[in-house]
Symmetry: C2
Subunit: 348 residues, 2 copies
């Protein structure tokens, strides 16, 4: 056969991709962006000098929430006074949502390792410690809530174990106390695909393919069956199935968002994640999605069981699986709103 | 980071791998092996001159069954008088099983494309046509049963549509009338991983990784949770999860079984597969496994619905998912036995 990939295309810039259409910035709401230097004793990589990057949006005096997303999320949550570009959680944080940016102060940060400068094993515990250092620097004693989605939920659970005094309550969405062994194997193979690409100039193709493989774990067969129920085509004597063009686009788009080193170390850090939920003594809402192929419902149930009276489990049914928090925004928001309004689990 | 793969290891021979420990050959049961030349009008690749390879085991006069397995299966089903090496379906065909080789004549064949010589799109319809030509050459008018597992089920369904007079009944195990769009996407990404490997001398690494990715679709999270529930290790500054060693072994072992071209074209042929079950007028037992991630139960149900009175659905629960026919042999055999003993669906 002829080679499938003819060339190594030049890679897009590593700068965070920005949507072309600007969202409506909250010009009347205070916002600031900054960085603080910190020295972090990491779990597997010794002591590291790191620069922690954050953004804080919302009126003074409002309750304070930390919002943390997936491994490719970052400090820019939404269009605001310091940056009019849409943020990664733009749709989750519009007016009227459970986390309305006019009623909450919203703090977000870049994950350590996300800049690609730290090429060593990173742990979710390190992320939580870094967050605690950031809170020190910002003189924030205690968060009213942390809402962690996916990787952010893992970091939130670590914060709850390691720095419980910094956190009033946690909403852990689509994340559990451990990586599921099957999901860990899936990620390990993604890393090997990237390593295969690194054998020569095809690092970008490897990372793009890894992202495409990850997408299969973020979504569900039900969604694919609806979107891609078309016969395959023959292109240059090869079979191309209906989902391939979409997956290609997803893969290439990812290249502008993250370097290989950042992705590798953050991917690993999910597999290093481990929390004993029985050590957590603050209220945790475990929000799971039925059909999540990355974090099976059974692991969310086990997490809630470990939390005992400190935990409450809410389950969303969504054909989007793990990505429901990004794709099923309205229904997820209704669930968050009802959870934030309900009495805290474990508190009388 | 240092390169993960340090070198391109020399690849094992393409000859079919043989287990070292010989099974007990059926010395007293007739067996023969042969090849016939055929001219096949293929669906996507014009007219092809092909050599069809078969093996026939079992007593003269016994009922005749064709056994067809996954894409890496072949004509050697079991240790017999012409070849004492264990076959791919050795465990399914021992004495006392539903398809006891002393009570059945068992015919098996190499899939077209399996020798890697045909580098063009292959269709499951072509496989069925090739089988019909083989039956012509062997002067076999009609099979008493075809038992198709996985890919073999797709070929069996095509035979039922295209050559119904050659087949009395079909047992279609873990295969449906169409590839599921999510499974098709999974296979397409495997092919891209192989293509990435082909960019340099790493074709074997690519094929090994593709096989490892495929394994995730052949098995289930439940099995992985039981087998690989161990913390990750740090090896050379990188994270290695519990399933990685096993998957590596699986991938490397595959290299001795199939060439890249054969694997690519057979993988594609699953995605080209399409059968209208309402055209089938002979008895079909659809045997599905709950939890099969490659052929979801919903597709087996749809197949049975399309077959109407000609189809009957049996469901096995197995933590092995798609690979239940290879791994949950005793329970699968009990199901086959009861199905073979039951009155034919659609026949009064």
């Amino acid at each position: 056969m002829r080679p499938y990939f003819d060339t190594c295309a030049p890679r897009p810039s590593h700068a965070f991709a920005r949507a072309e259409v600007a969202a409506k910035p909250l010009a009347d709401v205070p916002a600031r962006r900054g960085s603080v230097d910190a020295v972090l004793a990491t779990r597997h990589a010794g002591t590291q000098r790191l620069r922690l990057h954050y953004e804080l949006t919302g009126p003074e005096g409002a309750p304070l929430a930390v919002i943390a997303g997936g491994i490719s999320a970052h400090r820019h949550l939404l269009a605001n006074a310091v940056d009019p570009a849409p943020g990664w959680s733009q749709a989750l944080l519009t007016q009227g949502r459970a986390l309305d940016p006019r009623r909450w102060r919203l703090l977000a940060f870049d994950y350590i390792g996300a800049d690609g400068a730290l090429d060593a094993p990173i742990d979710t515990a390190d992320q939580a410690d870094a967050l605690a250092l950031l809170l020190d620097a910002l003189a924030i004693e205690r968060l009213d809530v942390m809402v962690g989605y996916s990787y952010g939920a893992l970091v939130g659970l670590q914060l709850a174990v390691r720095h419980p005094q910094r956190l009033r309550r946690l909403l852990a969405v689509s994340g559990a106390h451990r990586p599921h062994p099957y999901a860990a194997a899936w990620r390990a193979l993604q890393r090997k695909v990237v390593a295969l690409g690194q054998l020569q100039c095809a690092e970008d193709i490897g990372l793009s393919l890894a992202r495409q493989l990850a997408m299969l774990s973020y979504r569900t067969p039900e969604e694919f069956a609806q979107r891609f129920d078309a016969p395959p085509r023959l292109v240059n004597g090869r079979v191309q199935v209906a989902a391939e063009e979409y997956l290609d686009t997803v893969g290439v788009r990812f290249l502008s968002r993250m370097s290989v080193t950042a992705w590798w170390r953050l991917s690993e850090s999910i597999d290093l994640h481990s929390v004993d939920p029985t050590q957590i003594r603050l209220p945790v809402s475990v929000i799971a999605v039925e059909g999540d192929r990355l974090v099976p419902l059974a692991d969310a149930v086990a997490l809630q069981e470990g939390l005992g009276c400190h935990g409450r489990l809410r389950v969303l049914r969504s054909e989007y699986g793990h990505d429901a928090f990004l794709k099923d925004v309205v229904r997820m928001d209704a669930l968050l709103a009802s959870e934030l309004a309900a009495p805290l689990p474990g508190v009388r």
